[in-house]
Point group: C2
Chain length 320, copies 2
């Protein structure tokens, strides 16, 4: 894919639910194809504000089968869903990560489901920006739900979750030690907690632990309009999936777009997304070996005829 069609053409294709146009655009995002920015601007401004659900949790928590069950449930209700499966640790993309292969087999003939993997693009660190852009594309299409799924709970995963409207944090039943370790940051992320593999021994203990953390959080922020539920699931059998789906819908009925909480959240997301784009642009300028101007500036700094602050001014001016 060398040249992009014009933005109007793309918008039409996406509105009419073209998987091909969508997949091509996401590939263009991954490859940083020139000419993408004006397209994304048009798509953003025409965006539908679809419900974006982030799903994360440690490896082995059973997220892939949970998402698979969620897709089945959503389709049974006659609704549509797009899934972005993100693997920040993997340099490969477009392949079958996160149980995609399974899901694709099960849902590939279904035009109400779109599944796409995205992975780290290596050094540039622009994955969050790329995911943000892919969400702009999906938001230009008439999906009832968009699911962004990441593996792990590292900084990259937490970053990506900032792009979602609501975050489902999937846990497995925890031992006492794990509970201690989890106390540190668990209340920072997660609008809905899932204890998966709920047939295991420690499941109820884990649920009680999460509930006590939530109660503590309520004391700290009594003005919050949303209280995180804890949902028990068993992703293999599908137990608790309907409950989870209902909690997700309940979240969106409480956190309506015009509530102060949701507005604040969306403002944060915009700031976050903007910073991601900025960082990406600036990183690219530095890594673009053709940029002789930067090389010359660095030469001048090396000989102390210039300085890093002067180069900052040049870089900012060059973008304007």
């Amino acid at each position: 894919m060398n040249a992009l069609p014009d933005p109007g053409e793309i918008t039409n294709a996406l509105s009419s639910d073209s998987f091909r146009a969508c997949a091509q655009l996401i590939t263009a995002i991954e490859r940083a194809t020139p000419g993408l920015t004006p397209v994304l601007q048009v798509l953003y401004r025409g965006g539908r504000g679809n419900r974006i659900i982030g799903i994360t949790g440690p490896p082995g928590a059973g997220k892939s089968s949970l998402v698979n069950q969620l897709i089945t449930h959503i389709r049974r209700l006659g609704k549509t869903v797009a899934i972005l499966a993100i693997d920040p640790s993997s340099p490969f993309s477009g392949g079958a990560v996160l149980g995609d292969r399974l899901r694709m087999m099960q849902h590939s003939a279904d035009t109400g489901v779109f599944i796409r993997s995205m992975a780290s693009r290596g050094q540039l660190g622009g994955l969050t920006k790329a995911v943000g852009d892919a969400l702009i594309v999906l938001d230009a299409m008439p999906w009832d739900y968009i699911i962004v799924e990441t593996v792990g709970v590292g900084q990259n995963e937490l970053d990506i979750m900032q792009l979602a409207d609501t975050v489902v944090l999937v846990q497995t039943p925890m031992s006492g030690d794990d509970v201690q370790a989890a106390k540190a940051g668990i209340n920072e992320i997660g609008d809905i907690y899932v204890v998966n593999k709920c047939d295991h021994n420690e499941a109820d203990r884990t649920v009680r632990f999460l509930q006590s953390m939530i109660t503590l959080g309520l004391h700290l922020q009594p003005e919050k309009i949303w209280t995180q539920p804890v949902v028990k699931t068993q992703s293999v059998s599908g137990l608790g999936i309907e409950d989870l789906a209902n909690h997700i819908d309940h979240f969106f009925s409480v956190m309506k777009p015009d509530t102060p909480d949701m507005r604040l959240r969306r403002r944060h997301r915009i700031a976050y997304q903007t910073k991601g784009i900025l960082r990406d642009i600036l990183e690219r300028r530095f890594h673009d070996s053709n940029d002789q101007q930067i090389e010359n500036s660095i030469d001048a700094i090396l000989t102390r005829q210039s300085d890093p602050y002067a180069l900052v001014s040049e870089l900012l001016a060059a973008q304007g």
Copy 2:
């Protein structure tokens, strides 16, 4: 400290070795006092290119006493040294971290030694930028050596080490498990390896492990002009400190400023420092609650009359 003296005055004070001017400027850097940029620009352009030694390693490796011994050794040779002790994990600054109290007692009456702590300034994440700025100040003074010391080996510490000319990585004797864990990234950082507490059981085994990693690295990059030595020290007794100091001097005699390797390294540092300044400026704009323009832009994006890419253009233009 509300207003800064003019850059010429500051330059004169620093050239004549004024500890007070130096300490005040570093405080101004920590507080992001307005008017600092032109001062730093003048200082940078008049910089001496002092030898900057980064010292890092896991907590408990004995870095503080090692640095203390190094100071004593450098002073015995009649040379001068400034120490920046960085604690990325601590939100407090100016206090006694990293064994400063001890060193200050021992060296406080000595005008050939300057010791300063810097710590994380919380949310803004501008520590690397602040350390870079402090190094600009120290480089405007006639130090024979500048030592930047960090605790730990997390991302922040690695980031800060990019500001040094040479990196001394301090290890303690490792168990077999530690060795396995260390294999991953150890060759990425460190121009000089130190195995401290070398009277311990596993010291020789650790030295052999490090040497084998270095040999492997040489196979991968045969054109390198500097081969990392492994130095055994015992920071309590001072054993091996002279050896370490000689290796540091040897590094600078091999990696002269006009060698391609050192030029490349300094170019990277300039690019790195510039990016830190850029990020800091942009972060500040976002967190500056008085900036009504950004708030208005976000409002427009919320209602989809604008988009994040348009805000990026505004931000970049506003800086120009």
